[in-house]
Amino acid sequence: MGSVGAKDVPVLLSPEGLRIDGRRVDELRPIKIQAGALKHADGSAFVEWGANKVMAAVYGPREVHPRHLQQNTKAVIQCKYNMAAFSVDERKRPGLDRRSQEISKVIAEAFESVVFAEEFPRTSIDVYIEVLQANAGTRCAGLVAASVALADAGIPMADLLPAVAVGKAGGAIILDLKKEEDNFGEADLPMALVPQSGRLVLLQMEGHMTREELSKALDLGVKGCRDIYEVMKQALRDRYMVTPGQEGAA
């Protein structure tokens, strides 16, 4: 990306093995998830993850627009990942670009792997992801937000989809890259996990890693996803769990 003021490559890993923000190599940034953050969507979630702020909304199952995408045996899952113009250092021109379209596609495909779409033939489940503030890992933050939003909308699915990016910076395999590590690091590998099966439904990679490093990165990512999975479940509990004696208060 290379922002305007960026000239020198920062030191990404200190001799003590600490990262630019003081994290250890296997440490996540703080993550906060609010289920049901919007009033008018069927399901929604707001995720603050490090310096990322991402809102997701789910509408449906509802009529398919455009009509020709309709499928007779199952619901179609349509995903729109979009970045606000002010979400990055240099203003992003509003509207669709190739990067957003690709991310939308891989996220939609990840959800198609877990949503019981055949229960809603001839409908559309629309997933909207808006990146309000970006600091690397927005597709993972978006996926996590959308997954909680789908649960909030009551869409039946096999599992929630925690996601995280693993990468390589300063020669080390690190979990959950922040912006400088993404810009100046050696590799970026976002992934999404189905925790109950232990399988990955989203996996991308850019950069260079050895076989050993990749293996290590995958293990680290799965472990990170499992931690995020707990935060996602807790967000849903916070929204829906009713303590005895307080039924109907929510």
């Binding site: 003021g5 969507a41 729109k80 606000a84 002010f86 240099e90 808006e130 309000l132 503030q133």
Partner: protein, 262 residues
């Protein structure tokens, strides 16, 4: 029951209530929903504000970048306002190019900011005819509970009043400095429901409305912009009364945009 049928029943109910001077949410005809402003919500923006009016949430972010002035105004900076009614915010919005509704919000907000001379555009000029600051006001509707125009301008104003010119980052000056804001326009929107004129309409009230009028005022007592929308009509007497109400609400909303909440 289909959405159209429920909408029609709700419209009838809203109009019945309005005949008795009442509203669905229990507010008085001249009462706003709760307004809150959160400044600096987005740190990647040069200024930002998240405004909530009841169930409506609008986020505005400012970005300032060096660019070229227009040939016909070589000494002035450039200001552009863009509103996105993204489908995340409401079941009624669909993806695609900006619809007339989004264009109207952008233009009405832009007109108020421009007409009130909120920012002295000549102060944005760096080198006449060659280099100037371009001020982008981007408005994102997050939750559509009605009265988007008032929320959008309030968010834009909240963002502008807390914006920083990133002069150091672009190598134009030694240090960043606050964006100078000269005037504080706010818009106040009314709808006619039967014979009653209600301020700050909800989404359902807008759908039931027989005309909508937005009035922008500034702190010096000027009316700086107006926009009538939807199908319906207002008498000159109605309009004069609304202008008075707009000034009264405007004063309070200006204080909210600048600082605290109410």
């Amino acid at each position: 029951m289909s959405e159209e049928v429920t909408a029609e029943i709700l419209t009838t109910h809203i109009l019945d209530l309005a005949g008795k001077g009442k509203r669905l949410d229990g507010r008085a005809a001249d009462e706003y929903r709760k307004i809150t402003v959160e400044h600096g919500f987005v740190t990647t923006a040069d200024g930002s504000a998240l405004v909530r009016i009841g169930e409506t949430a609008v986020l505005s972010g400012i970005k300032l970048e060096p660019g070229k002035p227009f040939p016909d105004t070589p000494n002035a900076g450039v200001l552009t306002t863009n509103a996105e009614l993204i489908p995340l915010s409401s079941p009624v919005f669909e993806p695609g190019p900006p619809q007339p509704g989004a264009i109207e919000v952008s233009r009405v907000v832009d007109r108020a900011i421009r007409a009130a001379e909120t920012i002295d555009l000549t102060r944005l000029c760096v080198t006449p005819g060659e280099k100037t600051w371009v001020c982008y006001v981007d408005i994102h509707v997050l939750d559509h509970g009605g009265n988007l125009i008032d929320a959008a301008l309030l968010a834009a104003l909240g963002a502008l009043t807390h914006a920083t010119v990133p002069a150091k980052r672009f190598g134009i000056a030694e240090a960043d400095y606050p964006l100078e804001v000269l005037h504080l326009p706010v818009e106040c929107t009314f709808v006619r429901l039967g014979e009653t004129i209600m301020v700050d309409p909800t989404f359902d009230e807008e759908r039931a409305a027989q005309g909508r009028l937005t009035i922008a005022t500034d702190e010096t007592g000027r009316i700086v912009a107006m926009q009538k929308g939807l199908v319906g009509a207002f008498s000159p007497e109605d309009i004069k009364a609304m202008v008075e109400r707009a000034f009264a609400h405007g004063e309070r909303m200006r204080a909210i945009a600048k600082g605290g909440n109410a």
